[in-house]
Structures are given as structure tokens and as C-alpha cells.
Symmetry: C2
Subunit: 263 residues, 2 copies
């Protein structure tokens, strides 16, 4: 007697679920390009901050309430906005939005570089680090320009290739990826796995005076590569037209011997 | 002819300068206890957030302006409040408040533990990490209770001992300290240099409904030690009455070989 397939057997195999967030907020073009580039590879749920939350690092909202709003689908993806930080978006999505565990958490595509020390302040990498804390393979993608009208098309190949490889291979526990794609110059032809560059900001606070005569301040400054000769850093790659992939730890412990004078 | 000392030679030797900040804000008792414990060891300038900024990680204020207010001295220390995050306080202090480079940057004393994964969210460790990014030896101190009326006296010995040793020995480039002091039980009799424990939060978002019928959420949950058998972690120390000192890196690069499948 021939086997009659059950409803379950005839259903298409379940596509991987990808959770997307960012730090530029629900209105930033970068997140919609990310959805476009991955729409045929996965089911996508997107939970983004309701306004820009740049440089929010791993900040969490602990004393205020969070709002969650559901928007019309975009290119097949479910879209939500949240009143919190990038890390809040991932936590709230994981706990209260997603109906199954995602195969990946992706932050981006960020408008602006997250190379070097910027990693520590980055809300995009806050998304990826929070996903990693949940034990989900996680990636942050950034394009090295702050232009809101930037052409993201050069990201498509690298977003798809890296996402596909991580879907296939996973990532080690406690490791997420910081991917920066150079914006200037010709389209990048290669990527490299490199380390976080030693960089700094030569900051200045611009001092203003308000109408009541009281001072206020705004941060400005420029980014400095502290080791321009090193060829194994994310900054070196970006200044040579190469996509930089840095594997990033959530465990920040230094070798214990570095502070043996305390023992 | 006898040498007549110049004014410069007769001036008392300059005391080390310590910059203090926190994430519990200018009104939290912990920062005043920290000043009390160090007042005889250093000149102190304190720049704290003007209200609580818990779980702000390394967040920076980039789209809003910063206000800086000068308050009356406390126990010989200069006191300022800033409208920004803990990391903002350190940056603004370094760039626009301090008249010389500090010998140390210290965050705390925090009300609540910053062990395990909490390190990533901690504003106290945002202070220490930011100090470390500036190349200044930096420490975050936390007492493992959230009680605002907590007795901090057990911290005195450890704050003084660790601060003195770091003033004498410095810290390696790119390494700061995360010091947690157990609150429960008898006064700690020892400290250990240990690693960041693998921990997690079993979070839940409590869901509410506002008067208009719309939902909102607040974060709750409890902290889980994922490796309770490991004896070389900060969490193990804290649950055994031992002061935990974790050396913390600003470079988060994982071993590149962990993602060799991307090459």
C-alpha cells in the first residue's frame, strides 16, 4: 500500500529565522537593504529602535517602560519598533516577540564604521553581542559612511556570503562577528579575518553658551589609527578596500598573569 | 653659599590625582564612601551623572548636549555632575575639567554586583573601560547589594589596598579591573584574581496595559551562574565571601582561528 504523505511531510521545510535590529532606528535605510539582501534566504523579524540610538553600546533600559509597535511588513519581513536601546530590542524580541529561536541575530547595516575602539560604543555591535549572550550566532554589519543616502549595494555580496557561511557553520560559543565594509573606492573584492585595531579619538568638546549664560557641551573629534603600520587590523583592511571581519568575544577577561602584583 | 630653596622646591610633592565617576549618579552614597576611603591618598575630582544611569554600558551622548554643574566640595574632593552617561562623564572630565592627567580613574562604589555578564552592561565598568581607553589605569568597584542604605564599610580595606597597589604598579595597557566585594556574610578576609563567570539572566518582560489599552513592558528576571562548579570565577568568589578581581580587556578580539571557515 503506497505511503500517503501527511500534512507535515508535504509542508515546505522551515526556513531559518533571522532576527534583525540596528542602532540607527526604524527609519534608517540600512536595515531595509539588509532585509532586501536576505529576504530569499530566511524568514525575517525586525525589531528596531523607534529613533536613532547610535553609540548606545550594550545599554539597557531598566528604569523606564518599553513600548513595542507593530508596523506593516516590508519585503516579507515582520517589522516592529521599540522605544528602547539596540540591546533592549534583542532582549524584548527574544523574550516576547519571536515564536521560535532564531538561527541568527544580525545588527545593521550600520551607517558608519564600527572598527577599532568604536566596537565598544557601537549599538550595532550591542545587537550582535546581545544575540551572542543568548547563545545565537550573531553578526554586526557596518558600511563606513554616515551618509543616510549612501548606496549600500556593495554590501549585498558580503552580507549574503557571510550570512550563508554562518548559517552553515554556526559560530563558537561566546564569539560574534564585527563586519565592516569599506565605502570609499572601488567595490571590495576580498574579505579578511583580522583583529580590532588599536585606535583612539582625538576628542574635543565644543563649548557653547545658552541664552541664560550657562555653558553646554557637544562631543566632536576625529578617529586616529594608533598602529597604521600593522597590516592585520580592521582599520588596515578598510583603508585598503578590503572587508574586515573581526571575531569578537563576550568574555572580556584578560590573562590573569597580567595583574600578578595583586596576588 | 647655601642653596636657597625655590618656591617650587618647598611646595609639598604633588599628590596623585584620581578621577572618580559612577553610574548610580551624584546622589548615590557609594561614591561618597569611595571619596572617604581615598581622601588621604590622593587629590580627587568627581564627575558623576546627575541622576542614576545604571546599565548604560559604554553608551555615549552624541546627539544631545551635555551640561556640567559644579557642586560644593566634599571631604576635599571637587564635585561635578554631568547630564550624560558614565562614559560621557569620564570623557568630559578628561577633556574639559581636569587640569592634569589623572593617575587613576575609578568607577563606583556601585550599588549592586557587576560580576559575570553584568560586566557588559555595567556603567561602573563603562567608567573603568573609558579610563582604560584613555590609557589611564582604571578600576571599577562594586558592592553586591542594591540597597541604597547599605553599609559600605567592608569596602574600605579593599578599596584602599587595591588602589594603593595599582598606584604603585600601574596596569598593563588595555587592561582595567572589575572588583566586586561580597555584601552578605562576614567581612571578606581575602581577594582573588579570577575570570568573568559564564552567567545569564533568565529574563522575563512583565507586560502591562496602559489606560488607553496599549501594552508596555518592563524588564525583570534573575541571574544564573551557568558554571556553579567552577572555582576560578568571580561568581564563585562572591558566593564564598571572597573579593573578586577580574582583569578586563578593551580589545575584544577572539582568536582568529575560531572562524577559520570564513577564510
Amino acid at each position: 500500500m503506497p505511503h500517503t504523505p501527511t500534512a507535515k511531510e508535504t509542508r515546505a521545510p522551515e526556513r531559518p529565522l533571522i532576527l534583525i535590529s540596528n542602532d540607527d532606528g526604524i527609519n534608517a535605510p540600512g536595515v531595509y537593504r539588509l532585509i532586501d539582501y536576505l529576504a530569499d534566504m530566511a524568514e525575517i523579524v525586525c525589531v528596531c529602535p523607534d529613533s536613532p540610538r547610535s553609540a548606545q553600546s550594550m545599554a539597557l533600559t531598566v528604569t523606564e517602560v518599553l513600548r513595542l509597535d507593530h508596523h506593516p511588513d516590508y519585503n516579507g519581513a515582520q517589522i516592529y519598533s521599540c522605544s528602547g536601546t539596540p540591546a533592549d530590542c534583542v532582549k524584548l524580541a527574544m523574550r516576547s516577540v519571536l515564536e521560535r529561536r532564531p538561527a541568527l541575530v544580525i545588527g545593521g547595516i550600520n551607517h558608519g564604521s564600527n572598527s577599532g575602539v568604536n566596537l565598544l560604543y557601537s549599538g550595532t555591535m550591542g545587537v550582535a553581542t546581545e544575540g551572542c549572550v543568548f547563545g545565537v550566532p550573531s553578526i554586526g554589519f557596518s558600511l563606513t559612511t554616515h551618509r543616510l543616502d549612501a548606496d549600500f549595494s556593495r554590501c549585498r555580496r558580503w552580507v549574503r556570503e557571510i550570512t550563508r557561511k554562518v548559517l552553515e557553520n554556526g559560530l563558537p560559543d561566546g564569539v560574534c562577528l564585527n563586519v565592516n565594509i569599506p565605502y570609499d573606492g572601488p567595490e571590495p573584492q576580498q574579505m579578511r579575518v583580522v583583529r580590532q585595531c588599536h585606535t583612539s579619538w582625538s576628542e574635543e568638546y565644543k563649548r557653547y553658551t545658552d541664552p541664560m549664560g550657562r555653558p553646554f557641551y557637544m562631543l566632536s573629534g576625529h578617529f586616529v589609527n594608533e598602529e597604521p603600520e600593522s597590516t592585520d587590523t580592521d582599520e588596515w583592511c578598510l583603508s585598503h578596500g578590503i572587508v574586515a571581519v573581526v571575531p569578537v568575544l563576550t568574555d572580556r577577561t584578560a590573562p590573569l598573569s597580567t595583574i600578578s602584583f595583586l596576588e
